[in-house]
Symmetry: C2
Subunit: 213 residues, 2 copies
Amino acid sequence: MRARRVRLQVDERRLKLIELGIRLFSARSYEDISIDDVAAEAGVSKGLLYHYFRSKQKFYVETIREASLHLRRLTQPDPKLAPVERLRAAIDAHLAYVREHSRVYAAIYRNGVGVAPEVSTILEEHREAVMRNFLKDLGLKKAPPVLRAAIRGWILMVEAASLDWLTHEELRREDLRELFVASYAAMLGKALELEPRGARTAKVMRRVRKESL
Amino acid sequence: MRARRVRLQVDERRLKLIELGIRLFSARSYEDISIDDVAAEAGVSKGLLYHYFRSKQKFYVETIREASLHLRRLTQPDPKLAPVERLRAAIDAHLAYVREHSRVYAAIYRNGVGVAPEVSTILEEHREAVMRNFLKDLGLKKAPPVLRAAIRGWILMVEAASLDWLTHEELRREDLRELFVASYAAMLGKALELEPRGARTAKVMRRVRKESL
């Protein structure tokens, strides 16, 4: 019992440090932040930080991992909504996150891999999780090649266009969302045409396409 | 007259070295190639290479610039074709280039900016040129925000999905092309709906959308 409580305290303290890291890396660039800054802000010793994370780079990787999980939780499709509304809600949550945490988002998708190669693995895991959500909606476990390319292409576009949006504030969030929905629906419809699926999947795909174009 | 002929010879020699560079950087990675290799292959002195290009990095940047211009010429829209066929032909040319020059393409879009920051400017110029081609097709000089985001998002998707295609050979080129066409048409149609344009543009947009969905 006692050992478990101690472990929970350790986990909680570690998580608090990571949350502080997300906040710091959101406000300033990787180069601008030293382990001394983090220790001072957290009110802990540098030794403790090194004990938990080994290096500034490893600490950075853990903040990116946590930010990625956070974004994934926020954009988790809501099963209570109809397919198109579920997609809209997930895109809205994504774009709200991008705007609110623009520095972290840019850090992850623009510079992350340059700072630490492990970021690339985190990004791929994120994309695979989003892909699984979409496939689940379609009642599929694995995507055939064209459908995979459609969903994957769409995910990559959302990432790149979200970054681009950060430097083009004149674009309204709901307009960008509607462009994403239109593109998704069109590619899904085309994938269905090029690579016919079972009746149930085809029905969902047709509904998404019809409702959103 | 004579000075002009000498300059032409210099330009031609420089271009030949750049073409050799494209070939070398297509076959091996940036780190694997030394200025000695280039000089040996070209049968010129290292001094001459440094005279033309100053450093291996500058030489690399020039090969990327030339590759970008080459790709731009290949994908130049053919005014003799109808809008959708023009788009299909340009995407086919793009994808053929990606497959044939996969290493150069990956070098430009995956690692280029890491090797030399100037590559980022070259990529932006390339995107702007593609954007201008699309706008010209629509009879526009400047894009309003939603249309800009639609075209820009689409360009970024084509880049990212083309890279991804290189590691997924099971996907047929024409299927990927049709996904791109469907996405372009849908986003163009949505941009028109969200941001009504003049009658002529609207007509072209509607035609592209109708013919390709």
